[in-house]
């Protein structure tokens, strides 16, 4: 029908929606700020709950986008975009102007900057890392400390930057719990001699097969789960990490030495997203993610007609949900373009 849609963000959501739209013959321009598409997926080694390689998902996404006539613009960001009567004019960092009948915002999320939880000493203590850093280690195929020794006791802190008023994030990032469980298992696979401790506030095993994974972690891998928010970490003379936490189920404070501390960084509205929100005048919610028009049946719609949302730019989602959300967005757009004829 010779319509043109601009998709902002080449992550899972962006690729999915672009693929779906090009399938029905809509001309799609996909704008990605990085030099390659895939976003966070590239950083991850394996995915919960079934620990399949993230590259497999990437293959799928490439399958529906590569050579499908999608106009992909990498290393490109948006400088301006505004509505001109029935279409949008988008100016890219390259100074190029795109005219679009609809815009899909799929700017995704940023991982919480763990250094903001100063008391955990990320970037200050040698062996405090984030979930993303750990995935990097998994991909390299070796988990080692800064002095190149193998850690024996590994602690995982849940809810870093989530459900935490102190860093201004009241919401639950939803994926950290299951990521922690997944990574705990992977650590034990890599280091059969190691002991892994998860420090959680609540175990939020909502998704399909999450609870089963949790059970596996306990039963087969002997991961210990300790309920309590770690209050502070500090380095000991032998370069270990001393953490303080209340074992809320024992009702006693607990002090423990660890070799490696992994912070389950939460999800935050991406910087790119904030920028778009600014220049596009799009409404964001208290959690700073994009605010959709309706929580139940308008989760893809923005207040501006013709601008749609796809994926984690609206709220924390796992890949399954992101892909569904993106497909839903595609339907919304197609529907909108039909009516706008």
């Amino acid at each position: 029908m010779g319509k043109h849609v601009v998709v902002i963000g080449g992550g899972v959501a962006g690729l999915e929606v672009a693929g779906q739209l090009s399938k029905v013959g809509i001309e799609v321009s996909l704008i990605e700020k990085d030099s390659n598409t895939g976003g966070h997926l590239n950083k991850w080694y394996k995915l919960f709950p079934d620990r399949r390689k993230s590259s497999e998902v990437m293959e799928y996404l490439n399958g529906i986008t590569v050579n499908k006539g999608i106009n992909l613009m990498t290393d490109t960001s948006i400088e301006m975009f505004n509505r001109k009567r029935d279409h949008f004019s988008i100016v890219t960092s390259g100074g190029k102007e795109l005219i679009a009948d609809a815009v899909i915002v799929a700017t995704g999320f940023d991982l919480f900057k763990s250094a903001r939880k100063e008391e955990y000493g990320y970037g200050i203590y040698d062996n405090v890392i984030t979930s993303a850093d750990l995935e990097e280690m998994f991909r390299k195929g070796e988990i080692s400390l800064t002095n190149n020794t193998i850690p024996e006791k590994i602690g995982i802190i849940h809810c870093v930057g989530s459900r935490d008023e102190k860093v201004g994030n009241f919401y639950c990032s939803k994926l950290c719990c299951v990521t922690a469980v997944k990574q705990a298992i992977e650590i034990r696979e890599f280091l059969p001699e190691s002991k892994v401790f998860c420090f959680y506030m609540d175990m939020r095993m909502g998704g399909a097969l999450y609870e089963e994974l949790y059970r596996e972690a306990q039963e087969q891998w002997g991961v210990s789960f300790i309920r309590g928010k770690v209050s502070e970490a500090s380095e000991t003379i032998d370069n270990q990490l001393l953490i303080k936490v209340e074992d809320t189920l024992a009702g006693r404070p607990l002090k423990m030495k660890l070799d490696l501390l992994v912070l389950m960084a939460g999800m935050e509205m991406s910087e790119g997203g904030k920028k778009i929100a600014g220049i596009g005048g799009l409404r964001t919610g208290e959690n700073r993610f994009f605010a959709a028009t309706d929580n139940h049946f308008g989760s893809n719609k923005s207040d501006i007609e013709g601008v749609f949302y796809a994926g984690t730019c609206t709220a924390p989602m796992n890949i399954t949900e992101t892909i569904s959300h993106a497909r839903a967005a595609a339907i919304e757009v197609i529907d909108y373009l039909k009516c706008s004829n």
């Binding site: 306990q218 006693r252 030495k257």
Partner: protein, 114 residues
């Protein structure tokens, strides 16, 4: 010390490093389902003994795991082994065996320090 009219108070903190968790290890080895406890407290709620005193199997579980053995020792002996806990446990933990094994473990540790 009378000289000062006070003594240095000792904390309630669980010191994971210095605690002795061999009792826990003994049980883990023989009753793997011990690992499955999610501290829901179902056992404590239905407990026949708990009906009369502050005995809580949930608490006992965690104290064993943390190696707070002295507390466990005196609580342990209140269990009647009636088995209601095993029936209500949502995770299929063989709770009775945990108590029996814990008793055995203490017995052993007393005899020839396991």
């Amino acid at each position: 010390m009378d000289k000062f009219g006070f003594t240095i108070s000792t904390g309630r903190q669980i010191d994971y490093e210095s605690n002795d968790r061999r009792i826990a290890e003994y049980i883990f080895e023989r009753e793997p389902s011990f690992r499955l406890c999610i501290e829901c407290g179902g056992c404590s709620a239905t407990c026949t003994t708990g009906n009369f005193t502050d005995f809580s199997l949930r608490e006992l579980n965690i104290l064993i795991k943390r190696g707070e053995n002295e507390q466990v020792r005196e609580k342990l002996n209140k269990c009647m082994l009636c088995g209601k806990c095993t029936l209500v446990c949502p995770r299929g933990v063989n709770t009775r065996n945990i108590v029996v094994l814990a008793k055995k473990a203490f017995q052993k540790s007393d005899e020839y320090a396991i």
